[in-house]
């Protein structure tokens, strides 16, 4: 099985491209931190504000004289981390809701699916903005791994997770609905296996493929969501950099300092693009029905 999946995946040239680019982006934002200390990324060299890219500052400096290259490195860490943590929440919520609704059916299903449907019917960006306001306010800074993060990072992770689980819940529910009548589940139930065990040991492992694909694509979506909400000024607050909040207010410098928005924007695009390629390849590789020539 695994070998077959790998062979199908390998044939997908774009998926390989996506995976390699993604690894390079991780190296960029983690490895880059070994070259530039975080204090450098947050150091405002005010006299040098809005310097165009040069040897000293390859990506230029921002409105208060911070090095854009160093900030894209630390911003990348935060953006990628937000993407992955948000998906973690998304997956947990999506599986929980989908599994409960699909497995138990009846009234549980009705209520959970009505909520899912209602959430799906509010365009994501509106929901994100309202949630950002709801959970916003004054949040203390957080110390983690010996570094200080703006508390808004946690809020953003939370709201992205809370606004994105619905599709996954539907997928999981559909899987559960079709799998729960399968022989192996009926057999497990007949031998007195507990519901918990049936859900997590028997059904869930069998629906893992669509969950993996959905979660992979979910990371791209989460990174985009962070970028949108930060771009609108409701996301992660400075001095913590993200690719999204580096773009906040960038359209005021459209003409005078295009490097301000070009590099973080390009990095977001590259990340989202490679994840989409990767997700597409995974979908083809994991789907037994797909037969790409």
């Amino acid at each position: 099985m695994g070998q077959l999946v790998w062979r199908r995946f390998r044939r997908h040239k774009m998926a390989i491209f996506g995976a390699v680019t993604l690894i390079l982006l991780f190296i960029y934002s983690i490895g880059g931190a070994l070259i530039f200390p975080e204090s450098y990324a947050n150091f405002a060299d005010t006299p040098l504000r809005l310097t165009a890219p040069n040897l000293q500052h390859p990506f230029g400096t921002d409105t208060i004289g911070r090095d854009v290259l160093a900030r894209t490195i630390y911003g990348g860490q935060i953006s990628l981390m937000i993407g992955m943590l948000a998906v973690l929440i998304e997956v947990v919520l999506g599986i929980l809701v989908g599994a409960l609704a699909g497995y138990y059916g009846g009234i549980v299903d009705s209520i959970l699916m009505r909520i899912t449907e209602a959430m799906l019917n509010i365009p994501e960006i509106f929901l994100l903005i309202v949630m950002a306001k709801f959970f916003g306010g004054e949040i203390p800074e957080v110390d983690l791994f010996g570094r200080t993060f703006s508390g808004s990072v946690i809020v953003i992770v939370l709201i992205i997770g809370l606004t994105s689980w619905m599709y996954l819940a539907r997928i999981v529910r559909a899987q559960f609905l079709s799998l729960k009548e399968n022989d192996f589940v009926l057999a497990a139930r007949a031998t007195g296996t507990s519901n918990f065990e049936i859900i997590f040991r028997h059904i869930l492992p069998n629906s893992i493929a669509p969950i993996i694909v959905s979660a992979t694509l979910g990371v791209a979506n989460a990174i985009l969501a962070e970028a949108y909400i930060s771009f609108l000024g409701l996301g992660v607050q400075p001095p913590t950099a993200t690719w999204g909040n580096m773009l906040d207010g960038a359209n005021n410098y459209l003409e005078s300092a295009p490097w301000l928005w070009f590099f973080p924007g390009l990095l977001i695009l590259l990340t989202v693009l490679s994840i989409n390629f990767l997700g597409d390849g995974l979908r083809d590789a994991l789907d037994p029905h797909s037969r790409a020539a």
Partner: protein, 329 residues
């Protein structure tokens, strides 16, 4: 030669897919005379349909590739025609009826439209004339209430009716060749007989030549004058229909006949299925493709494909062995 309406020479078709190359049809030759009916028999996947789709140039290229060969329709090679000329010929001179009437009719267009458009394209008739002709065609294939049914959609027809409509569609322009690709496989047994009878009746009325593709030796005797037996993309035996039953010259033909329930056989005699599976078409064929399943196999069979050997008038078989004695020629 002069009487051949269709002559296929050395046709080879392959498919290039992710897993490799499928050797679907491997250099087959046959002919069809005016007004003649031939049956092409073989298990599913032996290249019967691919052969016919190749001739009509209906295979998607790629993945399909017609490697070599000729298909002479009234002396003109179909593979030399432009796409435009081919379109003019399809449905007008050579028409085809497909296996599954459920999926072969367009679900979002009315039956009337689907029959009528053949008339419109090839004969350029007026709307009213097309309507009348369509009604007549539906009547001819035995669909009751044709005026009403004209505006119905395929899903409102029963399976047998759909196949009748398919036949009406194919015969709209009175083609000189009808290719029927297992037209009864998807239908109930009683309806199968009706469809066979219908095609025979219309064939006589229109003096058509028919190529009837089937995997069922049972219907062959009823309809065909000649039989082509195909295996793994080869024609392994070609014979007049009575000769096939009386005196099959290829082990595969014999095996197919042995697998057939027959009235004249004692009830206790067990039907014999053919041991083994059809060969993997992904491997370039060397030797006789039937060798692995053949009871009479010799060393030569595995390395060299036998040519078609003449056994009588119009009777050829591709086997190194004299099946009546079990000894190589």
């Amino acid at each position: 030669m002069a009487n051949h309406i269709l002559e296929v020479r050395d046709l080879s078709t392959r498919f290039h897919i992710a897993e490799g190359t499928v050797y679907a049809v491997n250099g087959i030759s046959f002919h069809l005379d005016h007004g003649e009916t031939i049956a092409v028999v073989g298990e599913s996947g032996c290249g019967k349909s691919v052969t016919m789709l190749s001739i009509l140039r209906l295979l998607p290229i790629p993945p399909a590739e017609i490697v070599r060969g000729q298909a002479l329709f009234l002396g003109r090679d179909l593979f030399d025609l432009s796409e435009r000329e081919m379109e003019n010929l399809r449905g007008r001179d050579i028409a085809m009826v497909f296996q599954d009437p459920m999926t072969s009719l367009n679900p979002v267009l009315t039956i009337g439209r689907q029959i009528g458009e053949t008339l419109r394209i090839h004969m350029g008739l007026e709307k009213e004339v097309i309507r009348e002709r369509t009604i007549k065609l539906l009547e001819q294939v035995g669909i009751p209430d044709p005026i009403q049914r004209l505006n119905d959609y395929p899903h409102q027809f029963s399976g047998g009716q759909r196949q009748r409509a398919m036949i009406a569609m194919a015969l709209a322009c009175q083609p000189s060749i009808l290719i029927a690709d297992e037209p009864t496989t998807a239908l109930d047994v009683t309806i199968q007989a009706q469809i066979v009878e219908l095609v025979q009746r219309l064939r006589e009325q229109m003096n058509m030549a028919v190529i009837w593709i089937t995997h069922d030796f049972g219907v062959v005797a009823e309809i065909a004058e000649r039989v082509l037996v195909m295996y793994a993309g080869y024609i392994v035996e070609s014979a007049p229909v009575d000769k096939v039953y009386e005196n099959p010259r290829h082990p595969y033909t014999m095996a197919l006949l042995a697998a057939l329930p027959r009235v004249d056989r004692r009830r206790s005699a067990r039907l014999r299925s053919i041991p083994g599976a059809p060969p993997n078409l992904l491997v370039e064929p060397t030797g006789c493709p039937f060798a692995v399943r053949c009871e009479l196999v010799t060393e030569r069979c595995r390395v060299e494909m036998p040519p078609l050997i003449l056994h009588g008038p119009n009777h050829q078989a591709a086997c190194w062995i004299d099946v009546s004695t079990g000894i190589p020629f």
